[in-house]
Amino acid sequence: MQVPAPFEYERATSVDQAIGLLERLGSSARLVAGGHSLLPMMKLRLANFEYLIDINDLHAELGYIRLSDDEVRIGAMTRHRELLESDVLASVLPIFSDAERVIADPIVRNRGTLGGSLCQADPSEDLSAVCTTLDASCVIRGPGGAERVVTMEEFHVGPYETAVADNEILTEIRIPRKSFRTGSAYAKVERRAGDWAVVSAGAAVWLDEGRIVDARVGLAAVGPNTTGIPEISAALRGHEPGESLYELAGAIAARSCDPVTDTRGSADYKRHLADELTRRTLRKAVERARS
């Protein structure tokens, strides 16, 4: 059994109380939600914190999926399993259930949260790629109830680094809805069920009278951060979807990403997957938008 270094532990009773604790304890404290990334790192002593603030009791406050005409709001404590099983989400954003089906395993999905996944900011993390694909924004709350809203690009500062300061909490993800036919999809290549992605890709398209009004692609595991590729969006807008367009998008994805060779695969292979999975997810997203 791997055992962590000594730490103090407190359960937060409200978001503002948690922020108060963070304010007081600074960088020596860390929030724990699902704990499926943090606790293994602590057991391996790759991460050592003096204080853990457990925010699982905040699930009532921060665990929700709310749909309105112009956006979807998802609370940061919403668990993977809730994202996977939400019919509402599946009907408007099927990319979530595509992704959740291939994230880790049921044990992790029962505890792990959307906010925790994003804050871990692992370059291979699937929900970050999903949120990037969907042009999500992140609501960050700080002392005194001050809230700020950042884009995914702003949120991810670097690998394992986010815009959330030591005295702040990510509380909500907001995903804009547009009044067009829309479809989204996610695909992942992994060496084994439950593994981190070798490469994964998400795609979302918005169609009007058969033409692409907007399209977005988000990739994971091919660079220091999950990557949105504006060049793809620009290349697709205004065109009628089809194989040659997907091919073009795939080619852009392959040349825009920056993978490295590791035990999951060679850089060349990952670049190829960026292409292949971009094409596959766009094809699927368009299929869904049309149906």
Partner: protein
């Protein structure tokens, strides 16, 4: 799947399907594993390990750790040196550091240990030990280990000037070369079997309790071979053997990982002696993966010679074996390459030859583990891969090529060109059954259609012959201990029985299988027979469970000891029935008077009489018990035919194992359900090795497989519904005709899967690709860039 359970209610008195007796305990969480052992005053031990693959130890400062809360002892190599315990023998007549003194030789090597009041304090104190290292160049690339400018790893060995461990040779080189020179076709392939790890669910650990007054050591330990370990502790630690009790309680998987003696076990003993209190050591997952017995790591050049009609003539091979920093291979002493000599496979050859060189590298020691039957995994992979390569070159169907070359049934017992005497076999029916179950011809048709559409489907075949049940003691010993096994059977007055084994289950179901063997011989229901094993104080001496040897060796002992009891029971029955022994017939469970079945006595009645009032016949002692030590006259040679069907996504190169048909012949089948369970597990192992598992190292010698996030083992989602079948060719020399089954599937499945993947890639002109066939490596192969993994 329903078929598996349909006969369970029958509770056979002997062989047949029945639920495992141990499962009531194990499935309800009532098992008792080493980490469940709690003793009053027990301390906890944690090991400081080397972060470097190769470095001189300049100094170690333990003062801060000694002052840390709860710490009761900090021990370094220097401390052990003073006690003469810094080095210990390995199972291959090498030595291994118990704690490093001069330098560290692999990442994860034991440098010091802390004993503290709890596990947290012990672990925390490790951070306070200050070790100064002088980092040396490591030997990581096995191909460069013998180059003249390679740093010498084993400077501890007197006069050692290189990294050479041994050379080994088998077969007739001259004759083989002659046959090769005359052959129509020669196919050559470089084949790597990468380093993998058994990764049992339960990691290794021990609880040592040394009583200074009695001078007695009790050691609970994760061992597959408690008796052998006890003898070695007596030799190494100088504690008299009768004062040592080794207890292997429930074991959570072994696969060979728990055959060696690890430094951690010795640490716990030293820790207990030093502190005067019981000491528990339980390694964590990373420690298990980086420091305990790995498996494989063979680089093999295989060559096969044949006629243009597909008659296989000869096989030769050259092997470079990576043994890590210490030669810790667990194999019979006269077999430094284990049983690799069976690389001639299931085929009738004219000649064969193998030359092997083993070298040291700065990697963890080990070499025989992971259900390999002493290197038969490597041997079978070699022959089944090269036979497929030959089929490719001859444009022959791989099934047809195999059928054409099998050793024929009338040739048994068959002596191979490397000197192994296969006891029995009838290969063609096994192969035909597998092909029939698979619908082989239909599959080939489907494949042709799919190929025409650009889809990638592959069909892979492997046919294996194993050599298990070490061994005849005249040839086989481990550090001088003959590989025979004892068995004791005692029938209580009421007809219940206890059988004591020298082997030890790690989950294989011994408590059921051995009860069934005795039940078959004595007619006592298995439920009435307790199987004791794992505790050296109440079981007979023997060499333990590995290499699929339990049923071939101990299973024979159990049958023979039961027959001994039955012979004695017959004498008592003749007195009870007042007839001569010659007039009695044994009908399972009772003796009947010939021609008068109404007059009979049951084994239970005889047992009571054996312990009861009144005289017994002249020369017959009271009680109903016997003991035996069984020395097998030969190994047993199970065989099997495996067919694997894979689909490969041409866009992502992901491999999906669609079907897997496994037909095994392990001779007499004792509990078919347990056999199928063993096969299912081994096949899953095979999927792991073929598609994802590998312990790799970076150029500095850092282990890249140090967690189960990095070292992947397969899950239920990677495997198909296994389709199993069987044929029965009994072993002629085994008392009940049984052969081993534990490792057959691990041995046979990797070549079947790799052959299927390579077959799927045929349109790309691929004749060979090495494991692990991860999507990235398959994609490389599709681009004509198949490279070895090391």
């Amino acid at each position: 799947m329903t078929q598996v359970f349909e006969n369970n209610d029958l509770q056979p008195v002997g062989y047949g399907r029945m639920l495992r007796k141990e499962d009531a305990r194990l499935l309800r969480g009532r098992g008792r594993f080493v980490d469940d052992v709690q003793l009053p005053g027990m301390l906890h031990l944690a090991i400081l390990r080397s972060p470097f693959a190769h470095a001189t130890i300049v100094s170690i400062d333990t003062s801060a750790a000694e002052a840390s809360p709860g710490v009761r002892a900090v021990v370094t190599g220097e401390t052990l040196k003073g006690l003469g315990l810094a080095w210990m023998p390995t199972l291959s007549n090498d030595v291994q550091a118990v704690l490093a003194t001069d330098k560290v030789r692999f990442q994860g090597q034991e440098v010091a240990f802390v004993v503290a009041e709890d596990r947290y304090q012990a672990r925390d104190a490790l951070e306070l030990i200050d070790v100064e290292y002088d980092v040396l160049e490591p030997v990581v690339d096995v191909r460069k280990a013998l180059s003249p400018d390679a740093p010498v790893i084993r400077t501890d060995l007197e006069g050692k000037t290189d990294n050479h461990v041994f050379d080994w040779e088998t077969g007739d080189e001259e004759e083989t070369n002659r046959v090769f020179a005359a052959a129509d076709v020669i196919v050559k392939e470089d084949i790597v079997y990468p380093r993998v790890h058994p990764a049992p669910m339960e990691t290794c650990g021990s609880v040592a309790d040394f009583d200074p007054v009695e001078g007695r050591l009790r050691l609970w330990s994760t061992t597959q071979a408690p008796h052998a370990h006890r003898t070695l502790y007596a030799i190494v630690a100088g504690i008299p053997e009768h004062k040592i009790q080794v207890i292997a309680p429930d074991i959570g998987g072994g696969f060979g990982n728990k055959v060696p003696i690890y430094p951690g076990y010795v640490h716990s003993i030293v820790g207990s002696i030093v502190t005067g209190r019981p000491v528990k050591w339980m390694e964590d997952r990373s420690e298990n993966l980086i420091s305990t017995g790995f498996a494989r790591d063979y680089i093999m050049r295989a060559e096969i010679a044949a006629t243009s009609e597909g008659k296989i003539l000869a096989i030769r091979t050259n092997v470079l074996a990576d043994h890590g920093a210490f030669n810790g291979t667990a194999a019979p002493v006269k077999y430094p390459a284990g049983f690799f000599g069976v690389f001639t496979g299931s085929y009738d050859l004219q000649a064969a030859h193998c030359k092997m060189t083993a070298v040291y590298t700065n990697k963890a020691p080990g070499g025989v583990a992971y259900a390999c039957s002493f290197r038969i995994t490597e041997a079978v992979y070699l022959v089944e891969r090269i036979v497929d390569a030959l089929a490719y070159e001859l444009r022959m169907d791989p099934a047809e090529l195999r059928l054409k070359n099998f050793i024929r049934p009338e040739q048994f017992p068959y002596t191979t060109k490397t000197g192994w005497v296969y006891d029995s076999g009838d290969y063609e029916p096994t192969m035909r059954l597998a092909m029939e179950m698979a619908g082989y011809d239909e599959l080939r048709k489907e494949q042709a259609e799919k190929r025409a559409r650009g889809e990638l489907m592959g069909i892979g075949i492997a046919f294996f012959t194993e050599a298990v049940g070490a061994g005849p003691r005249k040839n086989m010993d481990i550090l001088g201990l003959g590989m025979a096994d004892g068995c004791e059977l005692r029938v209580h007055p009421t007809g219940k029985a206890v059988v004591r084994l020298s082997v030890k289950t790690q989950g294989q179901g011994h408590e059921t299988t051995f009860a069934q063997i005795v039940a078959e011989e004595l007619g006592i229901p298995p439920a009435d027979i307790d199987v004791l094993h794992g505790d050296t104080d109440n079981t007979p001496f023997g060499l333990g469970t590995y290499g699929s040897r339990s049923t071939p060796v101990s299973g024979a002992a159990a049958a023979l000891v039961a027959r001994k009891v039955r012979d004695k029971a017959k004498l008592i029955a003749s007195a009870m029935l007042e007839v001569s022994v010659a007039d009695l017939d044994w009908v399972k469970g009772s003796f009947q008077v010939k021609g008068d079945p109404g007059r009979s006595v049951t084994i239970q009645e005889i047992a009571f009489r054996a312990h009861g009032a009144g005289d017994l016949p002249d020369g017959v002692e009271g009680g109903l018990e016997a003991q035996i030590c069984y020395n097998p006259s030969n190994l047993t040679y199970p065989h099997g035919a495996y067919i694997c069907v894979v689909d490969i996504d041409p866009g992502t190169a992901e491999v999906k194992v669609r079907r897997f048909i496994a037909v095994d012949d392990c001779g007499t089948r004792i509990n078919p359900m347990i056999i199928e369970g063993q096969v299912h597990g081994g096949l899953t192992d095979g999927v792991g090795m073929a598609l994802m598992e590998m312990i790799s190292f970076d150029e500095d010698g850092n282990c890249l497989g140090a967690s189960l996030m990095d070292y992947l083992i397969p899950t239920a989602l990677e495997v198909p519904d296994w389709e199993t079948g069987f044929t029965v060719t009994p072993s002629p020399h085994h008392p009940i005709g049984a052969k081993g089954i534990g490792e057959s599937a691990t041995v046979g499945s990797p070549p079947a899967i790799v052959n299927a993947v390579v077959d799927a890639l045929k349109p790309f002109g691929i004749r060979h690709a090495d494991m692990p066939l991860t999507p990235s490596r398959v994609w490389d192969a599709m681009r004509g860039r198949a490279t070895p993994p090391i």
